[in-house]
Amino acid sequence: MVDDQGLTSLRDAASGLDQRTNALVEALLDGDQLALARLITLVENRSQMVPAILARVFPNTGRARLIGVTGAPGAGKSTLVDRLISGCRDEGGRVGVLAIDPSSPYTGGAILGDRVRMQKWASDPDVFIRSLATRGHLGGLSLATRDAARLLDACGYKTILIETVGTGQSEVDIMDLAHTIILVMAPGAGDEIQAQKAGILEIADVLVVNKADREGANQLVGQLEAMLDLAGELAWRPPVIKTVAGTGRGIEDLLAACQAHQEWLAQGERSGQRLIERAGRELAELVGRIAAERAVKAAREAGLWEDLIAGVANRRLDPYSAAEALLAALESGKSPRGPARSGG
């Protein structure tokens, strides 16, 4: 378990790995695909070993470039990713793909079908494709995606393509994970209106009009350029690229645009600043999650949890006081004398 009393102790968490998991991590750092797959599963299932695994693996990350591919279902994301794999393989180096699909809110199950569009890569030992279900998480990715990407990075995958769920508008997770984000649209899907909604254009670094051989493609390109003109002074103006993923047309231009964005990011303080901001957001989110789990666990063990819930439900206690009581129990390591009474 992780001892939260200093960076040295945190690194010691690595010794918290059992023999089997330690062997998996060693194999992963050596480039082994099977170990990579098994470790991704451990991360997905929130194994107790995850903090120790990440502590071991994290120093070996930071070498891969992460490209996010987002856009509404039917725009051709998976087919485009298939073509991007090809382009990246031509440049050399291993390519990893994380393809996220939604879990059913009713059954908890999922059909993960993005691989269907990437068939031929199953015979290429330098391409690793993993399908992940959202498991109830909103935001376009699954909770495990970030750490899965780190595992791929540490395993030696130079380029990691991340295909989001693609519902369109609430795709904020990818913003904090990818270096370059591609938004894929297709003509005739009402995307002209969709694209005007806040958030989409703010997310994307490269705009792709896929299925560009269809009617309406040039109009969509025009509308996007007009919208970008209205946006005024942009530090980075997303290029609008036409593609026909089915045939591969436009893929070279797309990769060149991604490369140009990568180079722009590398200028000056830009990427350093982004890393700081992202680290801050991840840490805040992670500590919130871990603290909440620990506080609830401690309260349950002290027999406090049911009392607090009943207090709130019966309006003897307001939720904020109940939450403070939980935190107090966690901080002091002992249970408080009882729930505070609120005014009414």
Binding site: L34, G109, I111, R115, V116, A122, I129, R130, S131
Partner: protein, 133 residues
């Protein structure tokens, strides 16, 4: 309890995928994560997908009669890459005598035409080898 991951694949030239899709949906409705790889899979593609997706079960749909050529390559392929704790289920047009030979090759269960979805889902769940908790 963790999610059960199942690979549903149609190896070989068989183009009739309706059954596979029906089974995939039933497994999803039972709370499982189904990696659907679609048509025309080679044994090598099935094995590699099973490895990368770290599945518990590989469910093969073969209606073309080519099962005796394809399935043993998949069961031995899984063993060769170290996936010894993955169960293989086969559904399709399989004569009883072939089913016996498939069991000898390492298949866990063979389902013929008319098999109930409940039975398929139940068997899939039971054939998970790694602990669920």
């Amino acid at each position: 309890m963790r999610k059960i991951r199942v690979l549903v694949a149609k190896p070989g030239l068989d183009g009739h995928d309706r059954g596979a899709k029906v089974v995939a949906r039933a497994l999803r409705d039972a709370g499982m994560e189904v990696i659907y790889t679609g048509l025309h899979q080679t044994p090598q593609q099935v094995v590699r997908a099973a490895a990368q997706e770290d599945v518990d079960v590989v469910a093969l749909s073969i209606l073309s009669g080519a099962h005796m050529t394809l399935v043993p390559k998949i069961t031995s392929g899984l063993r060769e890459v170290g996936l010894v704790d993955v169960s293989v289920l086969v559904g399709g047009i399989i004569p009883d005598s072939d089913a016996l030979r498939l069991y000898a090759a390492g298949v866990r269960k063979v389902f013929g035409p008319g098999s109930s979805l409940e039975a398929i889902v139940a068997t899939t769940r039971e054939s998970v080898q790694r602990p669920l908790a």
